[in-house]
Symmetry: C2
Amino acid sequence: MENIYCSIITIGDELLIGQTIDTNSAWIAQQLNPIGVQVKRRVAVGDNKEDIINALNEEQKHSKIILLTGGLGPTNDDLTKPILCDYFESTLVMNEAVLKHVTSFFERRKRPMLAINNNQALVPNNCVVLFNEVGTAPGLLFEKDDKLIIALPGVPFEMQYLVSTRVLSIISKKYITPNFIHRTLITAGEGESFVANRLIEFEKTLPQNIKLAYLPKLGLLKLRLTGTETSAAEIDEYFNTLKSILANIFVADQDIELEAQIGILLNEKNKTLSVAESCTGGHIAAKITSIKGSSLYFKGGIVPYSIESKENMLGVNTHTIETTTVVSEATALEMAQNCLQKFNTDYALSITGYLEKNDHENQVWIAFANKSTCIAKMITVPYDREKNTVLTVNSALNLLRLFIIENP
Amino acid sequence: MENIYCSIITIGDELLIGQTIDTNSAWIAQQLNPIGVQVKRRVAVGDNKEDIINALNEEQKHSKIILLTGGLGPTNDDLTKPILCDYFESTLVMNEAVLKHVTSFFERRKRPMLAINNNQALVPNNCVVLFNEVGTAPGLLFEKDDKLIIALPGVPFEMQYLVSTRVLSIISKKYITPNFIHRTLITAGEGESFVANRLIEFEKTLPQNIKLAYLPKLGLLKLRLTGTETSAAEIDEYFNTLKSILANIFVADQDIELEAQIGILLNEKNKTLSVAESCTGGHIAAKITSIKGSSLYFKGGIVPYSIESKENMLGVNTHTIETTTVVSEATALEMAQNCLQKFNTDYALSITGYLEKNDHENQVWIAFANKSTCIAKMITVPYDREKNTVLTVNSALNLLRLFIIENP
């Protein structure tokens, strides 16, 4: 079966001077994969006619489907629509349905409609208009021989709306696609090269159509098996072997964030959680509350960033801090115990440490408490402030997950 | 003067199935711009020989400098080094300096050295080896006619180390580059199309070599002027006009995050801050503590995610919550006042609201307190949980900035 490839062209000078990080492409790729479409190339070009036309021409050599994002807005630096008009020899026509939608869009927001917003309803006469319920710039779909060229807004939630509601079904109807299966294993506590060393024999057993990829994160390692034209049973067999080889460092057998796993565990057990995090400054609470429904099990957190607030808000003993310092096993244990009591939860997590880069490796103490047990673990963090924060958050969430499993 | 263009090729299947977001390219672009090198195109391709070679060939048509990242690691899915060897007809030779470094890298970490780690010291015989002090995979630099092809590790801090210490100076020595100047203005409180409408006449006055770009964020709008072969004085003149037109929505005249601006203000005034954030779940505290030195002015935060913790930990009156609900002006005001007292700070910020998508626009109350004043503002958030969080955080930080300025 023929592979159906897609190229994603993102348009915008901001992508090339590094002012904006492209998150759209990753999201699009995640949606295309399940319908059997492979992203072959992702290309970012500037707000420049020649570069956009070049990219359009080049990507058609690689892919049947070309998705463009960005440059559909109402301002002068938005070039995608006029360029596509030229490219497909279109004339612009006023689309009454889009005009009505744009007008009511501004009415509902009680904002005056401007002349440039009218232009949003001007569309090429030879394309399919992808009606944008959640914004003012519609998507534009052109068919050329057996190829699809689709322009979408760059605003992420507008692009996402159009891909979900229109683009995926149009692609599925037009092409017959092969099947792809991915399986992701998450591990923690062992570096990429050590894991690779343990998998030398396993990798030799993999057939041509199943590939293994290593995706290291700070404190975590993701391993991904990808099968082409395989069966779920075949890939599961290899995946289960992988799981059993790496059982001692196993975290999860799907690509699910640690905070989501913790949420599932707490919901299953009907237990609650609170956190007292000093050096991570709110990142742990932010991760936990990023999960929909987390208010069912997360009662709250405190960021006692000063010694005073550790004492006054969290009730850590002044004597403990004076005798063992603020970054110590004893301080971490007291923080976790007091957090558990003050928020009246079943589990509590505490963190205290230094994350700023130093001439030596910094220590971070992480403690876990429930009504009967309180333990602390020390990790060292060798990077800069930002990376040490990520490493500490990932390590703490994984240790919390293990504490909840081991202390039900 | 000839423009010096760079193409960035990022290599990895994880980029094409959407498992990883490419942050390397944006960082690289930020470093190249000040030395007068423009990123012309960014291309992501999979772990696949044909696609990597294609990209290498194609990008040399567009750019003098080709930077590749990724695929230099020790595992079997790391293809960049063998492919470059083929491409440049190299033979692999053991580099004793790299081998010594890799060996001591593992010794310092008290980890056994594996056979596959030895391979890190095998380098093509016809390239310049970019010694990697912070990791085990060296960078590889090939010269071909007037072009530079440079392969770097994909691990962000290793790539960053090599670009900062080696790549930038090599490029600066080899090419004479034109000069670019960017000026960024940040505004808040008015949508992209309204700002564009106010700037129609201004845009007409811009000369050919100065471009204006609109970069909308949730709750913020960045405007960027880019001048090519211009003087600081010339671009400043246009920038000052832009500033004066948009004075009423002005936030900052450089691309500096709101949390950094707040830090500067508090340090100047020698004042302290605490936060009580419910629905934003720790994101505000995480932003504030992401700034180096924030412990000088940030005393701490609380995430009172449950009604119980709003009452017990923050001392919000049960009566207030019962009569006005948990998302109300009165609750927000009490949260800010109590936060100020409990953390004993000069300023306090509080947030309470619903961020989960609803059938109507959600309300969020944000309050600000100092010793003499306490005010609350209401914003509406129309998106999903994730976007509403970003919108609320941006809005709250900007309002806090204004409150500090207006209430010294």
